[in-house]
Symmetry: C2
Subunit: 153 residues, 2 copies
């Protein structure tokens, strides 16, 4: 029962995760780790943007796209467990409580992010800046879609 | 000249990065992002450990190993730029000032971490828990080697 919310929100991936590792991560650490994951992804999104706006370095874009894809496929659902709806200890959170009540919508948004990140990684592999730009925009759109609904300002 | 320290510490990867994106990341954000990167890697190291100690889920271990490899190859050297030797704004840091004076040693440690993470990703791909355990231990050793020298307690 403990992992019901996680499972409801993020489906199979979180389910398999909840059976092993996630139960051992304290709510405070879940918040810390999810903020770290998105922050790391954000840095890599910024690097790709800088490459698109400036000199295009294919290797750097590939590494950054791989990083974003790895974040999107790392099972982040396990970091939105019970007790992480609001600040715990030193860890503040800007998640809206609504996220924990809209499992299907959140699962769809997470799936969109994962799919767009894979598309971006493939685009980066191609080395074509225009393709990367389009894919980067799509990933950014999936970030925004979730923030608009479930992140407080 | 501005990026001399970064280049001296992390070599070619950082050099190519410094030419594009890194110059735009403020020192405060560099500290924030590097902490996020290592924290995200740490969560994934913990997941692999939990899989080794409990029920082994090959997909989860693969995703976690890919995440660690992506962090290790993301050009973290660019996040140790001038002005990040000590706390900036809200961002504290536990880096020792010695890191910024030992470029060759740090470059070696970063290279070891990157190589060990690739080995771990390959081990995860194989699905063999014993191989993963050995590779996971090696990655942990590269984390510790750097922390022992350059992270204050």
């Amino acid at each position: 029962m403990k992992n019901f919310t996680i499972i409801a929100i993020f489906g199979i991936t979180a389910l398999s995760l909840s059976a092993t590792a996630s139960a051992q991560v304290k709510p405070e650490d879940q918040i810390k780790y999810r903020k770290a994951a998105y922050s790391f992804a954000s840095w890599n999104m910024g690097k790709i943007k800088a490459n698109l706006d400036g000199t295009y370095n294919a290797d750097q874009v590939k590494a950054a796209a791989n990083a974003i894809e790895a974040v999107a496929h790392s099972g982040l659902g396990a970091l939105f467990g019970p007790g992480t709806e609001k600040a715990v200890g030193d860890q503040k959170t800007s998640v809206k409580p609504e996220l924990f009540k809209n499992g299907e919508e959140v699962a769809k948004l997470a799936k969109d992010f994962a799919a767009a990140s894979t598309e971006l990684a493939k685009a980066a592999e191609s080395g074509d800046a225009a393709t990367v730009k389009a894919a980067h925009g799509k990933v950014g759109g999936t970030c925004k879609a979730c923030h608009d609904q479930f992140k407080s300002r």
